[in-house]
Amino acid sequence: MSDTLRHVSRALPHDSARKHVAGTAAYVDDLPEPHGTLHLAIGLSPAARGRLIDLGIDAVRAAPGVVAVLTADDIPGRNDIAPSLNDEPLLATDRVLYFGQPIFLVVATTRDAARLAARLARPVVEKETPSVTIEDALARGETVLPDYAFGRGNVAPALADAPLRAQGQFRIGGQEHFYLEGQVALAIPGEDGEMLVHSSTQHPTEVQHVVARILGVPQALVTCETRRMGGAFGGKESQATQWAALAALAAHATRRACKLRLDRDDDMQITGKRHDMRADWDIGFDSDGLIHAIDLQLNARCGCSADLSQGVVDRAMFHADNAYFLPVVDIRSKRLKTDSVSNTAFRGFGGPQGMLAMERMIDAVAWSLGKDPLDVRKANLYRPGHDETPYGMRVTDADTIHAIIATLEETAHYRERRAEIAAFNAQSPVLKKGLALTPVKFGISFTLKALNQAGALVNVYADGSVRLNHGGTEMGQGLYQKIAQLVADEFGIGIERVRITATTTAKVPNTSPTAASAGTDLNGMAAIVACREIKARLAAYAATLWECDADDIVFAEDALSAGNRRMSFKDAAASAIRERISLSSTGFYATPDLTWERDKGRGRPFYYFAYGAACSEVIVDMLTGENRVTRVDILHDVGRSLNPAIDMGQIEGGFVQGMGWLTTEELVYDSDGRLRTHAPSTYKIPVASDVPEHFQVMLHPGANREATVHRSKAVGEPPLMLAISVFAALCDALHSLAPGKLVPLDAPATPEAILRAARQIAPGDLF
């Protein structure tokens, strides 16, 4: 009906841009506190594994300002915050599961009083040796979920018959989210056991459910509201619930508003991270670099509970092909239990790890053949006749990735630079350059089918202003803005009339997390459905008035019109209300065509794929391991962009975050299972000077072939994996030290890891 787009596809600023820069955008900790608000601090387990003998909290109770000290015994409902299995308590009971696990909760009059009191505890734990590493867990044989595998063909003979073969073990580090706003919740008790929780969460519904479970009240009594998050990246998908539930527990116990904001060091210690993995790989190939068979075992360090590890590790497996056809393949996985905080969602949700393992194998093939890795990449891409993934889904639009790579190879001058770099390296003893161009193919949809649904509630008021509610949450990704643009164009009105509101479970219930990059695909569609329902009612009304066909009514330029008849949107709204027409509607959307059957390991788990490629150049000091990324060119596919500025921001930000994961971000645990890099002083995410001046991002033109909102594609996660090009470029630089050798570089490529790898393959003096 509306064919004029005033907002969609335009590079409009984020809805809160002016508030962000003025300091007036309110996050949970900024909300005015109800009178008498109490503050919380958590008592942390002093051991990673063992029996909890005594909490040792007498001194805590006696400390100044303390109103209450709550333990597992004070939980009126079920002591269980797990998103899937019932395997994670809110507060520890008889056993502790990881270092820093919450074991009690201090409620005090001020934040400082609560924190000071919490440190007075002297808990007693009968310690046991913890499983810290993947090897520890393998040795103990402990897992959080059963092993899982899928594949095609008979791998052992295919590997044996392949003309050439390479094998290895590759460690892939985890990653701390480092959302700038730490975990926080404010719980306000209401009458009859009602509880309102302001939570910094990607999943208000989950917070609502868990709070209801902990308090033992019906879900209808609990409301979770989220206006915005100061970043989330998956870290607030399942793991914002614990803090919200603790705040609610305290509010329930004291009948006063209660706030819990984690200190950064605590936040980093006691919230889950990206899963670190060990990939055990074996590849058979031929002298053309074509892959014959792959055997890949992904050993994932899941931590103490299942959390989201089923989906995360499945997605690692789904992306272990990246963009390549693997004729015979066996992809296996272990979800290892370690005595550490449960690892969780993080942008890419396992995909990056699977993809990185694949790219290591491609590099190994190229190195052993003396070929340019890009040629090996291109030779193995999905293509007609070779288009079935290891899980049985067809890749029908592989031409997109072929086109992206071909274009980028040209625009980034890959071949010329390859030659220049070879010449530079030949005469440079200490400094070596490296170059890599790597593709990304990322599947869009939750692989748990039930999550692929969304709801919206759109209200049009008598003055023609519109209030927009949907189940998606805003964490900086610009979802609210994109959906407001969609709604404005549906109604043909100016976006200033669309009021964006906080996400709340009271208005749109039973929602999925804002995750899997699917926020706009799902909630945008739901909002459009709601708009179209209201438009249909308005059109029907105007059609009767003007005695025309409702299909002829056009919504554009702040008005309804048909031929030379015209009525402002505002007047239409006012008169429709007088005619007793409802201008409020819900909208609902469920992604079509998904057929994934996990037990068979076959089906269509994804609605479509998003593609991209990046070409990165690095320079490495082989005497120190220090390095710089000197140039990045990206070509990425977002379908028809709903907002190019927001999409570019996602691509740039995702890339840099991925670069951090693969270079400077190192999680160091000690043998007690305690994270030692639990602060920005020791855990180093990229800063401005880590980003190269030449950092060019282009959007690949083209529409999504599936019927998504305005044929756009999801953009939240895929760009993170473009940073694999940086890791591959570092490997390429190292490879120049000893051509033909397998570069023994694990991720993250810290200066130390790089120097170690360099010395391993080229032990002599450099000059």
């Binding site: 820069v21 100061g230 200190d263 975050q657 000059f767």
Partner: protein
């Protein structure tokens, strides 16, 4: 008589406070007392920059705007200054030029880092440096983490928003603000609280000496970039705090042909301008020391007084042959800086004694200097290893060698065995470089920790020595390092 209340300028008014705890931070005062929530807490340890505020002061008659980490800055450190926060920048509905540029370039996604970034850019906007290039912007932003944007739009906003000389309400009201600040500057000592719980900031070195002697258990503090973390992370609550920052004599920075005398309370930023002139490597190291926020608050005396084995200044100053001056009561003594560090976290400093200044002999024309700082991330990171080397070379032969390290032992220390290998030998002998590097195994026993393994530390220390000697012998630095050394411009 000391003044009994803290006074600072805020939104055109003088705020006077007396009933605060000595350990109150600026951030807590803003968010919890004033209830200005625009300034964010991202880490409470000076590393993320979300809490960046700008403190305007009169320095040598000039109005300067310094970005500071409010999370670890003591409220009382605002005495005599003007506190500017993100809420103050817009002029009614009109955004400040740096805010406007941030909106235009889509420099905020989640927006949580944004107030801090805006304040860092506001400080840069007021730095009056004329031409602004990307490198300058990167330095200005090294103390601001953003997890969402990848920085590209922020850098673009900075280049646009800070391109012209400051033209905003603050620039236009500069004379009024300067007059108000001058009014606050009464040159008096500050003593807020009572015998049991106080914050004191004496105005003279005699006053300081007396107070420190009277209260030897009081926590001495300068920029609080170390002490602040003991409060926010260690939850230490000091009842008595004595600040050195208002002591006039300790803020002096004097140079002549012979030496450079740096008062203990001189900020790292101010010291950088002088030390950086001695040698390009020193300038580079100081530009990588913490962040702009940290260098504006942190002091030379604090870096040395803290006695950390990974402090960056000590090895550099030891290599330069610096002398430390200490005072206790009326007694003043000096000692070579390396002798100050006795053992891990133990220094040659008596109760009641404090550092007054550091005296650095000016390097001569035959002196060659090299400094290497190794860290996981190039900017705003603590050293895994720092090497500083000064050679005096006479007709190709090494006359004297001072080689010092940080991060390689429990204290900043010299490497005597390696120095011995070098002394008296021809510099341009590659075999000598390797012998000196090998001798480090005798001198140093590094540890493994979260920043680096002992093995890596030793390896990069040795390689740093080889590189430094090679460069001194004439191998051009574009062969030996990613970012080549600029030409040496000291006299």
């Amino acid at each position: 008589m000391p003044r009994r209340e803290l006074r600072f300028l805020r939104r055109g008014r003088v705020i006077s406070l007396s009933g605060f705890a000595p350990t109150t931070t600026v951030l807590d005062w803003l968010r919890l007392d004033e209830r200005s929530t625009g300034t964010k807490e991202g880490c409470a340890e000076g590393d993320c920059g979300a809490c960046t505020i700008v403190v305007a002061r009169l320095r040598d008659g000039q109005l300067v705007h310094e970005p500071i980490n409010a999370c670890i800055a003591l409220l009382a450190s605002l005495d005599g200054a003007e506190l500017i926060t993100v809420e103050d920048l817009a002029d009614g509905d009109t955004l400040h030029p740096v805010q406007e540029a941030m909106v235009k370039h889509h420099g905020a996604q989640c927006g949580f880092c944004t107030p801090g970034i805006v304040m860092s850019l506001f400080a840069l906007h007021h730095a009056h440096e004329g031409e602004i290039d990307r490198a300058r912007v990167e330095t200005a932003l090294a103390g601001n983490l953003c997890r969402c944007t990848g920085y590209k739009p922020i850098i673009a906003a900075a280049l646009e928003g800070c391109a012209r000389p400051a033209d905003d309400v603050f620039a236009r009201s500069a004379s009024t603000r300067m007059a108000a600040l001058a009014e606050l500057d009464d040159g008096r000592s500050l003593f807020v609280g009572d015998e049991d719980r106080f914050f004191a900031a004496p105005a003279t070195v005699d006053g300081l000496a007396e107070l420190v002697l009277r209260y030897p258990d009081a926590q001495l503090v300068a920029g609080a970039t170390d002490v602040g973390l003991w409060m926010t992370k260690g939850l230490r609550r000091f009842d008595r705090m004595i600040s050195v920052q208002r002591v006039t004599e300790l803020t002096h920075l004097e140079t002549d042909d012979e030496e450079i005398r740096i008062g203990a309370a001189v900020s790292l930023a101010a010291a950088a301008s002088v030390l950086g002139d001695l040698d390009d490597d020193l300038a580079t190291m100081l530009a990588r020391f913490g962040s702009q926020q940290i260098r504006a608050a942190g002091t030379v005396g604090g870096n040395i007084g803290n006695g950390s084995p990974i402090g960056d200044l000590a090895p550099c100053l030891i290599a330069l042959g610096a002398i430390l001056e200490l005072r206790r009561g009326d007694r003043i003594r000096t000692l070579p800086l390396e002798d100050f560090f006795l053992a891990y976290r133990k220094q040659d400093r008596e109760p009641g004694e404090f550092i007054t200044r550091i005296i650095v002999p000016r390097p001569g024309p035959q002196d060659l200097i090299r400094v290497t700082k190794i860290s996981k991330r190039r900017d705003e990171d603590i050293s895994a290893m720092l090497m500083a080397l000064r050679l005096t070379v006479d007709e190709g032969r090494i006359a004297t060698a001072r080689l010092a390290f940080g991060g390689m032992a429990g204290i900043p220390c010299r490497a005597p065995a390696a120095e011995d290998v070098l002394k008296g030998h021809v510099l341009a002998d590659a075999a000598l470089w390797r012998r000196a590097a090998a001798a480090l195994a005798e001198d140093l026993q590094p540890l493994s920790d979260l920043r680096a393994s002992a093995d890596y530390r030793m390896q990069v220390a040795q390689n740093a020595v080889i590189k430094a000697l090679a460069e001194m012998a004439g191998i051009p630095s574009h062969i030996t390092r990613i970012v080549p050394r600029r030409e040496v411009h000291h006299v």
